[in-house]
């Protein structure tokens, strides 16, 4: 983590940032954001499986099926180091399953993938995390009956006091614990959770839990951060601050992969966007390329959404719509949020 100390230093220089004055830290520190990855990816062709100048993660022929359903079938994917890669796709496209595979939480039927040239295929989740690939979860996993500070301390790696025998000798881990606490408090201040350090994580709001989960992941000095829907269920004001934090990660040299449904967010922060549908990657490219891509439009809206209807089809569609209206009786049509839970439950 060569970029880490400077980032902390920049932060330490402005210990009491007010919410209005510092939307992102690079502006507070007077630094110009360097979107190195964006520049590096500028001239790449917009095609699926294109090779990147400096890939951190390489995925090859990974498939995962649940019974007859192929949840993920990715031929080749490279993720640029130091960039923010957005992973989008309709519900059930296999985004979370791909996340689970990459982080060892699920095992694929076939395929290999590597991080920094190291094969991750047979590793369990904690081994992947120790290599510097940490993730957050779609349904936030704040550890409710631990305090916010304890949640943070848990993220620190190589703790001496976490071995059973050394835990019995406080002298062996007290100093390290103090250093970790200082680091945790720095991060909590940055995420504006320092006032809540002694509260149980279970009483935090949904948005604060997202912040805590991200801050906790950063305690391990990760090289790759994988965020599964970091903005889901977060109010717009907090979304802005979360976005700022995600951009900060890139400035510190981390590689970020995130799943998101909000296209404005994806356009705002991604250097590169990967689109999945039905388990396959159907498009890759910089954010501005995606909305023009026919495969993407088809995946989201259906392949024949703009084809003219025949008279019979039109009659049938109208009759179905009438029947649906009759059934609804005030029930709202299925919102994306509710769909999500069911689709995720089935793909896990």
């Amino acid at each position: 983590m060569p970029a880490e100390p400077t980032a902390h230093g920049a932060h330490a220089a402005v210990p009491d940032e007010t919410p209005a004055a510092a939307p992102t830290r690079e502006s507070a520190a007077g630094r110009v954001p360097q979107r190195l990855a964006q520049a590096a990816l500028k001239d790449l062709p917009w095609e699926v499986g294109v090779s990147k100048p400096d890939p951190a993660i390489v995925v090859d022929k990974v498939t995962r099926s649940f019974g007859g359903l192929t949840a993920v079938s990715v031929d080749h994917l490279e993720v640029q180091r130091g960039g923010i890669t957005g992973l989008i796709g309709p519900n059930g496209a296999g985004k979370t399953t791909l996340f689970n595979l990459l982080t060892g939480f699920d095992q694929p039927n076939t395929g290999t993938w590597s991080f920094d040239g190291r094969d991750l295929g047979k590793l369990s989740p904690h081994q992947v995390a120790r290599l510097g690939v940490v993730r957050t979860f779609q349904l936030t996993k704040a550890l409710s009956r631990l305090t916010v500070l304890q949640n943070m301390l848990l993220g620190a790696q190589d703790q001496k006091g976490e071995s059973f025998l050394r835990a019995l000798l406080p002298g062996a881990w007290r100093r390290q614990e103090k250093e970790n606490t200082e680091k945790a408090m720095d991060l909590l201040r940055r995420f504006k959770l320092d006032a809540k350090k002694d509260d149980f994580a279970g009483i935090l709001s949904g948005g604060q839990r997202k912040l805590l989960e991200m801050a906790r992941a950063l305690m391990s000095d990760p090289k790759v951060v994988m965020l599964d829907e970091p903005m889901a269920g977060v109010n717009p004001a907090l979304t802005q601050s979360l976005l700022g934090h995600v951009k900060d990660l890139r400035e510190e040299g981390m590689t970020v992969i995130f799943v998101e449904h909000d296209m404005d967010v994806v356009r705002d922060i991604s250097d590169w966007v990967v689109v999945m549908a039905a388990g396959r990657i159907i498009a890759e490219g910089p954010p501005e390329s995606i909305s023009q891509n026919k495969a993407v439009v088809d995946a989201y809206l259906g392949a024949h959404h703009d084809a003219p209807l025949t008279v019979e089809e039109e009659d049938r569609v109208l009759a179905e719509a009438d029947a649906a209206l009759g059934r609804e009786d005030g029930l709202p049509p299925g919102r994306p949020g509710t769909d999500e839970i069911s689709s995720d439950g089935s793909t896990r």
Binding site: T103, F105, S124, P125, H126, Q127, A129, R130, V134, R135, T136, F137, K141, L143, S144, R145, L146, Q150, N151, L153, L154, G155, Q157, Q159, K160, G161, E162, S163, F164, A167, L168, P170, W173, E177, F200, G202, I203, E213, R216, A217, M219, S220
Partner: protein, 332 residues
């Protein structure tokens, strides 16, 4: 009135007796499993039985010295924890619960079976294995001593003293562990395993360590019980004891260092007080024979404890030492 004082004194002895130590040790072990790590061990009594029989078989059947028996008891409890944990700790919590409850009952039936009689003594069990331990007492173990109006034999006193020493040691051990980073990891595992895995901790190892530690403490409970009664009989180790220990733990407050200890003392006190008190009330006619007779007392006292636990869960769900805010987080 004198009857009540009498009942109070008899119950006071139960408060400090080896049965309270037995339940306290079972409950400290369950606290490590269930209270801190979130492991559902419904067969804690199996560890206690291996503890008791570890000494009994080594000394009376194999003629080994008492302390070798203690080592064998410790070793067999560790082996049992590993055997229970290896197949189940990678799975969801329910599987450990199923396996432990089955093993606890299965081991008891095995120990009392006819084919095991040459080793375990079958339904009659084993005895005469605690002599060399009782002989270590620095006072005369044949005499009876009067303490605060209750009568103790020298042997009972010795077992209680060493027993409470063991309880204190394990309480300190748990206290030290749970304020260390190790304790933070196991508490986090109780909250959400996957989150802990994603932070680079080997969850399986931690769960196994906690299972072994809690089982070991339970085995010490069994040793104290066997030495205290002077005999090891398979049917003493009914699995109902596991659930009484759970009751004691919840009464005292789960995931609290002193919860299982104080909970067990109070549970034993209430059981003994209800028993003696009810018998006194029946014999002096305060409770008419038509309502219930002294033969029903043994059952009625458990009804009273049950009602008490229900009231506790309604009005003080966190137990005596628990933190209400912490318990209420689950209700959300």
């Amino acid at each position: 009135m004198s009857d009540l004082i009498d009942a109070f004194q008899v119950a006071g002895k139960a408060f400090f007796g080896f049965q309270a130590i037995f339940f306290a040790l079972l409950a400290i072990g369950i606290n490590v499993h269930f209270g801190y790590t979130g492991l559902l061990n419904f067969g804690q009594i199996a560890f206690a039985m291996l503890g008791g029989f570890g000494i009994a078989i080594s000394v009376s059947q194999w003629g080994l010295p008492f302390w070798v028996g203690v080592l064998i008891a410790i070793g067999s409890a560790i082996v049992l924890a590993l055997l229970l944990g290896l197949p189940t700790l990678r799975l969801r919590a329910d599987y450990l619960a199923i396996v432990t409850i089955a093993v606890a009952e299965g081991l008891r039936l095995l120990f009392r079976s006819v084919s095991a009689t040459p080793v375990t003594g079958g339904t009659r069990g084993l005895s005469a294995f605690n002599g060399s331990f009782i002989a270590l007492a620095p006072w005369d173990t044949q005499k009876r001593y009067n303490i605060l109006g209750t009568s103790w034999s020298g042997g009972e006193l010795w077992v209680a003293l060493i027993g409470w020493l063991i309880v204190t040691l394990f309480t300190l051990l748990v206290w030290q562990l749970m304020r260390s980073p190790w304790g933070r990891v196991v508490k986090a595992i109780r909250e959400d395993e996957d989150a802990v895995r994603a932070l680079g901790k080997n969850v399986y190892n931690y769960k196994m360590q906690a299972l072994v530690l809690g089982g070991l403490i339970g085995a010490f409970g069994g040793m104290v019980y066997a030495v205290g009664t002077g005999s090891a009989i398979p049917d003493q180790y009914q699995n109902a004891n596991t659930f009484l220990a759970y009751g004691a733990l919840i009464l005292g407050g789960a995931a609290r260092v002193l919860g299982p200890v104080i909970g067990s003392m109070i549970l034993l006190f209430i059981l003994q007080f209800a028993d003696t008190g009810l018998r006194a009330l029946i014999s002096n006619g305060a409770i008419p024979d038509t309502l219930f007779s002294s033969t029903d007392v043994a059952q009625i006292r458990f009804v009273l404890v049950g009602i008490g636990l229900m009231l506790l869960l309604v009005f003080r769900p966190q137990g005596i030492f628990g933190d209400r805010r912490e318990v209420m987080l689950d209700a959300r």
